[in-house]
């Protein structure tokens, strides 16, 4: 479904990603873990078409999308939920959701999608008229995911979704990710919360200094001694 081949990414003259190769199959949850500054968010930004210059290929269902502008990628089904939510804080929940359905295809079924999002995330239905900036961090994260779902994604890219969330919301969020997979959505998740992500993900990659250094099934990586020492503090 989503394939990354020999991807290098740069901020100016600084190379951040080195020959990254990965694959996310249809209906999979794939995790990407790594220490701070490993290049996880850069990879997500590159996949979403935001800012970085890059070499290599990003393919969605075999079709190259790496030359597309950021705003064109959601039309192809590749939608990013950015780190720190990046909601539009002065707009209501409903208005934020409205923005998610920008593409004509998504707009045509916006009402139906909205009902689906409300069914999946009832807190958004309850707070539909609330100003987004006045919600708690967990609710804002749900809204960020809801906004992304309004674009009718095929692949959902989640960048550090649990950052700054209370434990109750972390659990809710991973339950939500599992239910999104059950509905047929493909999810790629970047997380520092290694334990949670490896327990949830079908497969995962470990990024270190901009290079993929390990890959495997989530459960297998969870028991890997090297990973335990480096990231789980065991």
């Amino acid at each position: 479904m989503l394939e990354v081949k020999h991807l290098d990414a740069f901020y100016g003259a600084v190379q951040v990603l080195h020959d990254v190769n990965l694959f996310v199959g249809k209906g999979e949850i794939v995790g990407l873990v790594g220490a701070n500054a490993a290049g996880k968010s850069t990879l997500m930004f590159t996949l979403a078409g935001l800012r970085t210059t890059h070499q290599g290929e990003v393919l969605l269902d075999g079709v190259a999308v790496d030359d597309l502008a950021a705003y064109e990628r959601p039309k192809r089904g590749l939608v990013l939920v950015p780190e720190r939510r990046r909601l539009f804080p002065f707009m209501t929940v409903l208005e934020n959701l409205e923005i998610g359905a920008y593409a004509a295809e998504a707009r045509a079924v916006a009402r139906q999608t909205l009902d689906e999002v409300f069914a999946l995330l009832p807190v958004l239905a309850e707070r539909r008229k609330q100003i987004a900036g006045s919600m708690s961090g967990g609710e804002q994260q749900m809204l960020a995911i809801g906004r992304a779902l309004m674009a009718k994604p095929r692949v959902l890219l989640l960048d550090e979704p649990t950052e700054g969330l209370a434990p109750i919301y972390v659990k809710l969020l991973f339950d939500l990710i599992v239910s999104l997979r059950a509905s047929g959505l493909t999810v790629m998740i970047v997380e520092q919360n290694v334990h949670h992500v490896l327990r949830t993900a079908d497969r995962a990659y470990v990024l270190e200094n901009g290079r993929i250094v390990m890959e495997g099934k989530g459960a297998t990586l969870l028991n890997d001694d090297r990973l335990k020492t480096a990231y789980l503090g065991l």
Binding site: Y71, E72, L87, F88, E98, I99, G100, R107, A151
Partner: protein, 337 residues
């Protein structure tokens, strides 16, 4: 647009105080007062102040679409103003086309200028965009000064002061005041419609966080270009009305940095990114400026500018969100959140 509409876009009941996307009783009351002033038969000098307040209110609203809603802070809007003014004046004086038509042609040309500026410069950020708009207006001004065969060059252009409805020249200032008020109300209605529209949401999104807007699929360049073109078109209409009132175009005034700053200043004082803000800004600043100039301009040269500047500093210091922000804060005390 599809038949699918999200409930946020459906009509809502009227609010008491200015609220995004909704007409309020406060705004209705303001309109009624403005209508009463138009027909009140006040002194000629006060009618000047009144109609200029309406005109600059509309121009400030037009600027606010780009600067307040799309985040395109422009110091070059006098170029669009001048283009609109010159277009309708040239069409009427050279080709006998009534300004009632020329005004729309001027708006179209101004919109094209705005779209070109956006396509070239809207990728620039902050001060770089601001400087590019200043430079753009300078290019237009120099063009107007040097294309003498069309624009009259430094001598400018005059419109025959012969009152006629078809020529949009009126003997009565009340008629001009009514025309300017109509312009103000029209631009205000467009702004309100924009606030409640999907396009308005996209503009807010682009302004507030371009990356997030892009990640959600919103095309920032398209949004900015549309916003600047709309803003330019409405400014161009204001330019045409200005020409029809003053009946003379001086290129060093109609395309000048001072005028561009004035367009930006009024929304800044009144409240950027709000519909009522530019109107309040114009209703405060335009009379203040005109009255100070007329009462103090000749007796104590420069004093009116000192008082005017002091007033601006006070407003900026104590009302950083503008008069609209202060009004919102005041009225919010008694309202459920």
């Amino acid at each position: 647009m599809s038949a699918e509409t999200i409930p946020s876009l459906s009509p809502r009941r009227m609010a008491w105080f200015p609220t995004r996307g909704r007409i309020s009783w406060f705004e209705i009351a303001l309109l009624l007062i403005a209508c009463a002033l138009v027909v009140s038969g006040m002194a000629s000098s006060l009618q000047d102040v009144l109609l200029l307040s309406f005109l600059f209110g509309g121009l400030a609203l037009a600027w606010n679409i780009a600067g307040g809603y799309a985040g395109l802070i422009s110091f070059g809007h006098s170029a669009f103003f001048g283009v609109g003014a010159y277009a309708s004046t040239i069409l009427s004086t050279r080709y006998g086309i009534t300004p009632w038509i020329g005004i729309w042609i001027g708006a179209l040309i101004a919109a094209m200028f705005g779209a070109v500026l956006a396509l070239i410069c809207a990728r620039l950020r902050g001060p770089f965009f601001i400087l590019s708009t200043l430079a753009f207006a300078e290019v237009v001004r120099i063009g107007a000064l040097n294309w003498s065969s069309l624009t009259g060059g430094a001598e400018g252009l005059s419109i025959m002061p012969a009152p006629s409805l078809i020529g949009m020249v009126f003997a009565s200032k009340a008629a001009y005041a009514a025309l300017m008020l109509f312009y103000l109300v029209a631009v205000f209605a467009i702004t309100k419609g924009l606030e409640a529209s999907r396009f308005g949401y996209y503009l807010f999104a682009i302004r507030d966080n371009e990356d997030a807007a892009g990640a959600a699929g919103v095309n920032p360049l398209l949004g900015r270009t549309a916003a600047l073109a709309l803003s330019a078109a409405l400014t161009g209409i204001g330019g045409s009305l200005f020409a029809q009132y003053f009946l003379y175009l001086d290129p060093t005034y109609v395309i000048s940095p001072e005028l561009s700053f004035q367009f930006a200043l009024l929304p800044a004082v009144g409240g950027l990114g709000t519909a009522i803000g530019p109107v309040l800004g114009s209703f405060l600043i335009t009379p203040l400026s005109e009255l100070l100039r007329s009462y103090l301009g000749s007796s104590a040269v420069g004093l009116h500018l000192v008082i005017y500047s002091f007033g601006l500093i006070v407003v900026m210091l104590y009302f950083p969100a503008g008069l609209a922000g202060a009004l919102d804060k005041l009225t919010r005390r008694g309202r459920p959140r």
